[in-house]
């Protein structure tokens, strides 16, 4: 394995980490807000608060980590994605900023303010949509050259593309699916029957649209990017495996084995995410940039890998501590502080 592949694998792992923790967070915010509208807020409120409060900041770091690592290992991505994505990513930043700060204002400041909670819910749905433009653009076909030799985003092509919209829909449904599945598990640990019933229902509701859009995107790829479509087909067995995990997770959900059900949801996404990643090899931005021509110099690559390993030695025990204190800790989940 060469260092380019090692680099992109590490980043892909962090992006996946962000997808999972952010999905739980975004979805929780959405359920928290939507239950205010449907007047079921008192049922889910405590479970969501107990999970979110100690970890919301960590979620944000995953994103920064992916992003800084990307520029570190592949500096050319800064030029391409930076130039093209000014507006969509700025929108994401603004939404993330409002979301993060209003969460803090609502939780630590004036408690229980409805406006903050609604804001937190709405942004939670819009952020995955705006962030997924980066993924859509990386697929190729949405960048055009300007008269002066620069590059820019082709907004008309982007907004009229069914493929682009399918990815947005997938990001939304999977956010709600992952989140509901996790919160079902969390409320089962908390022995909070009302919340458990609700989140179980949400998991069922969001599971099928997720898998349908995912299948739809594979088919649409055939028209959008033939090379990538063939790449996806050659890995069909991985997607089949992912689908099996999906079925298993639903069976476990039915059997009220929520922890394992969530683990299979994560496995389902992990396999599909990695298969998707492998299938686009070697492109970062089709067809402008591959992992080889955008790579940093060798010295910096080895320095980054070294720091990464040292950093993990610090991070893993710390994350384990968070896990032990807040996520796997029955007394905390049941009683709160």
């Amino acid at each position: 394995m060469n260092v380019e592949i090692l680099g992109i694998s590490v980043l892909w792992l962090f992006l996946f980490g962000y997808v999972i923790v952010a999905s739980i967070d975004f979805g929780a915010g959405f359920f928290n807000a939507s239950t205010i509208v449907t007047r079921k807020h008192h049922i889910v409120n405590t479970v969501i608060q107990r999970y979110l409060s100690p970890v919301w900041e960590i979620t944000n770091v995953f994103l920064v980590f992916f992003f800084v690592g990307m520029i570190g290992f592949f500096p050319s991505t800064a030029y391409y994605f930076g130039t093209v994505l000014l507006i969509p990513i700025s929108i994401s930043i603004i939404l993330l900023a409002l979301r993060g700060s209003y969460y803090a204002f609502g939780t630590y400041g004036t408690k229980g303010h409805v406006g903050y909670t609604l804001m937190y819910g709405v942004t939670g749905v819009l952020i995955p949509a705006s962030l997924s433009t980066a993924l859509i653009v990386s697929q190729g076909g949405f960048i055009r050259e300007t008269a002066t030799g620069g590059i820019e985003l082709d907004y008309v092509a982007l907004f009229t593309s069914p493929f682009a919209w399918s990815i947005v829909v997938l990001s939304l449904t999977s956010v709600l699916f992952i989140s509901a599945s996790f919160l079902a598990y969390y409320s089962s640990v908390a022995e909070d029957k009302g919340a458990l019933k609700l989140f179980r229902k949400y998991t069922w509701i969001w599971s099928f649209p997720t898998i349908l859009t995912a299948l739809g995107i594979i088919i649409e790829m055939r028209w959008h990017n033939v090379v990538h479509y063939e790449g996806l087909l050659s890995l069909w067995w991985l997607f089949a495996l992912s689908f099996v995990c999906f079925i298993v997770s639903l069976m476990l959900l039915k059997k009220a084995s929520y922890g394992w059900s969530f683990i299979f949801v994560v496995l389902q996404f992990a396999i599909a995410f990695y298969a998707y990643g492998v299938s686009r090899y070697p492109y970062i931005l089709y067809p402008h940039l591959t992992i080889y021509d955008g790579f940093t110099n060798q010295t910096m690559a080895y320095a980054l890998v070294t720091v990464f390993i040292l950093g993990l030695l610090l991070l893993i025990p710390s994350l384990y501590l968070v896990f032990k204190l807040f996520i796997m800790n029955k007394p905390y989940i049941q009683k709160g502080k």
Binding site: A78, G100, T296
Partner: protein
Amino acid sequence: MESVEFSRYLTMLTLSVHVIFATVGVGIPIFIAIAHWLGLKNNDEHYLLMAKRWARGYVISVAVGVVTGTAIALQLALLWPKFMEFAGQLVALPLFMETFAFFFEAIFLGIYLYTWNRFKNPKHHFLLLIPVIIGSGMSALFITSVNAFMNTPQGFALVDGTLTNIQPLVAMFNPAMPTKVAHVLTSAYMTSAFILASIAAYHLWKGNRHEYHRKALALTMKIAFIFAIATAVVGDLSGKFLAEYQPEKLAAAEWHFETEGEAPLVLYGILTETKEVKYAIKIPYALSFLVHSNFTGEVIGLNEFPEEYHPPYFVHYFFDIMVTLGIWLTMLSMAYCIALWRKWKFIKTKAFRWLLLTSGPLAMVAIQAGWWFTEMGRQPWIMRGYMTVAEGATDSAHVPLMFVAFSVLYFILVVGTGVVLTRMFKNNPVEKELGELEIDQRSVAK
């Protein structure tokens, strides 16, 4: 070249907002730790409550710091894509390490906040603050080293447009790094101390006579004095560094055009169009002395540099503001500490408390002025000697629109933070919390 100008303004806006929260974010954990430690050691409810209340306010500022920090991290690539493509190969290491430090801090801060009363031995809970302090200090160190690299790039060779012989550690430990990091850290601790002192002084000034506020003021002012001295000493070293490595920045700060020995120090004043300094206070020989520690040393003037590489001359005003406020705050905290020790009465007057109450905001103004001086003082370079600001900027035509959007965002964030923090503490004064504690203890005793 409209994009370049707006990219500069937007970066300046984001950083100016971020630095408010970043400074507090780096500095305040130390004060939480000291108060917490004093509380545990002396079994003093006041100090324990102080740690709790400071921590509660701190979370709000950390939240805004995190989101504005995320904004600047992403904006670097959005607004300066060509610069990041180039520099990404040289400074990726400290950038990457910064996120680790940040991660570390985020994890332990979360644990600290949610584990009051969860450890059997309260000292274990206290120990959680150590990684928070280390994490915040380290992230300041790494990110400042990136900024220092932009001022004094090294650790690579540029042969016909290609980078060779890259040495990440040499790039990280560049000549500007030691003084810059030291100045950032000491001034962050100093500013945080003055801000916390301001809060205590405000309550005393309003006529509150509670022991809690007196303890808070005495504690923070003593530490503020120590860090004010440290900041001044490091500031002097930074000046000597500038004279050696970035003489044009120092010369612009001092309106020093001709290279000469026996150079005077110029304070205040205005600059006419013919580059004459008017209405200024000139201290003879002082600049030579500051730079070379002797009165006749030669100081390089701006005229040695081609005009297109001159920094804007108005950086002089930022330099003046920073230095003046620094000296004023050092004297103020010294006066307080001496008076406290000698038991002089004047520090209890309303007027003096008003002065103390302004110290926090003034320290923050000094931080802003200092950053504006150092950043505008390296114009026109984004990477001194290698890339100008115009060469690094984006081509996108949408920057003005984004500038407006972010201005609105920051307005909401800053006002929101102010409102939330004020409400949080106003509705829950110290007396009330201490009263609740006593009731708690009584019910335990029964």
